[in-house]
Amino acid sequence: MAAETGTPTTLTLKSNDDELFSVAESAAILSVTIRNMVEDGCAGGVIPLDNVDGKTLASVITYMNGISAIPADEEKKKSYRDKFLSDKDFETLADMVLAANYLNMSCLMDAVSAKIAQVMEKKSVGWVRRKFGIENDYTPEEEAAVKEEHKWTFEGVETDDDN
């Protein structure tokens, strides 16, 4: 244990594509899922995270390390989160929101949800369907009727940038 050796406890996390990552326990327990495993004593060996791929997990660990290095200053934490998410594309954000949900990390979940919303804000209905993989199950008449009811919300929509 850390108390005996004087060095921080390190956990090994395994992604669903079998990549291994070392991370300080103090940073990793930002995830309630991981914290519960540690408290239950299942963290001795490798912690398998079946729902997160290596690329996303690497990113989440960067976040864990970055945010836990900031002292209790909500303004600074917020600006770290903003900067961390600023260069992420939509697909990465979507992977991260799933990972944050699975790892039960509320601060990351809230920040990524807000970021995705910010990206979506002025997008078209078609863009949302494509990006979220949603099938349009309206008949053309039904869709036109819903659109007609909320006509003004279609003002100022950006031109799609994904095709």
Binding site: N36, E91, L98, S113, A117, G133, K147
Partner: protein, 386 residues
């Protein structure tokens, strides 16, 4: 210990497709109302999620709670100040705009197209859960400015002829929500005459569920002034005329769910000047403007407890810090928000001033086109419709 069950493994397909509904809702909560409404067109399941009572309720709850968790007024993003103003181009036409309490010295408001064209008096009666009740051209309109959905309420009928557009001189209104019945209610209290009985009223209550008015008990008190009911804690409040012979200083409240009046003492000693009830950060408050430009604000920190009335704000010594233009509007000030850290924002004429009890922290001018003072009211953007 609270444990979160491990989620069902995601399918092998691209992760971005079909985000679980709870995550999707999380994202939708963060979007502006305009975008949320547009995305009803995405699919039938998005339409049903966004239109559901649960989603609308949770969306509202989160908007309010988020603001309450935040430390200062400058980050109150969901709560906005709604105000009416005279359109500069058409001097007799009123309209409505809104702005957030932000740090910027010049606030750029959002302006709305009001649902009914008007050429005269418009008055904002109350705001509740994102709905506002306004009086335009003698019509009562229940309107959600964020979704632009509105409903014209039928006029109440009284025994005597009543001229609604006589406005606040003869009629007091109150607007609020009865959560137990999911019903938005409007109260209309009309003075039937001034002499010889100064406080003979006729009262009617409107329910959004039935879209109709019913006769309602009068309160047995002589109400002070003609202000509209102040909504706190699911109850509407009116100030009772100070009784010199008994020395009682009372407030009458109307519980919108129980539909019962109650009278309680506020016990606040003010010497002279104008006194009015206010809502501040969810508390019931009392504001007293004295002739010497001294302003005091008290709030009832624990609802219903007379001893909990506390003075939270005094204006006397910082009048010099105010923008010079404000000083003339000293009689027209209105406290808007009281945040957890003690900051209070006050509307003075065309300005919103934020102060921390001792000093003015910042002052922001609302737009630049408004010649007349704004009559602000706090409101939260929501998807609620009545």
């Amino acid at each position: 210990r609270r444990r979160r069950r491990r989620r069902r493994a995601m399918a092998e397909k691209r992760l971005t497709s079909n985000l679980p509904e709870e995550i999707m809702e999380e994202i939708l909560y963060n979007l502006p109302i305009k975008s949320v409404l547009r995305f009803k067109c995405v699919s039938k399941s998005w339409l049903s999620t966004i239109s559901s009572k649960t989603f609308i309720k949770d969306h509202l709850k989160r908007s309010i709670a988020e603001d309450e968790e935040k430390p200062g007024l400058k980050v109150l993003t969901n709560r906005k100040i709604l105000f009416n103003y005279v359109k500069p181009a058409a001097r007799l036409s009123y309209s409505i705009g809104s702005f957030s309490l932000c740090k910027n010295p010049k606030i750029t408001p959002t302006l709305y197209d009001i649902p009914i064209q008007n050429v005269g008096f418009m008055h904002i009666i109350g705001s509740c859960n994102g709905l506002i009740l306004i009086m335009i051209e003698g019509k009562l309109v229940l309107w959600n400015p964020s979704t632009r959905i509105y409903r014209v309420i039928p006029s109440p009928s009284f025994n005597e002829a009543i001229f609604l557009h006589d406005g606040p001189f003869h009629v007091r209104y109150g607007f609020g929500y009865d959560e137990s019945n999911d019903d938005y209610k409007v109260i209309c209290i009309k003075d039937t005459n001034y002499f010889p009985e100064p406080y003979h009223y006729e009262t009617r209550m409107y329910s959004s569920k039935t879209n109709s008015w019913k006769k309602f008990d009068n309160c047995e008190k002589h109400l002070h002034g003609t202000h509209d009911g102040i909504l706190v804690n699911g109850r509407l409040h009116w100030l009772v005329q100070y009784n010199r012979s008994t020395g009682s200083r009372d407030i009458v409240s109307l519980d919108l769910a129980e539909e019962k009046y109650q009278t309680f003492s506020h016990g606040v000693e003010y010497s002279s000047g104008v006194v009015s009830l206010v809502e501040l950060g969810g508390y019931l408050g009392l504001m007293n403007l004295m002739s010497g430009a001294d302003v005091n604000v008290w709030v009832m920190k624990e609802y219903g407890v007379t001893e909990s009335w506390t003075k939270v704000w005094t204006l006397s010594n910082f009048i010099d810090q105010l923008p010079r233009k404000c000083v003339g509007d000293i009689g027209k000030l209105k406290p808007l928000c009281w945040s957890k850290n003690g900051d209070i924002s006050i509307a003075f004429g065309q300005y919103v001033v934020v102060c921390n009890g001792k000093n003015v922290l910042r002052k922001s001018r609302v737009g630049s086109v408004f010649e007349h003072r704004i009559q602000p009211i706090v409101y939260v953007e929501s998807l609620v419709s009545a």
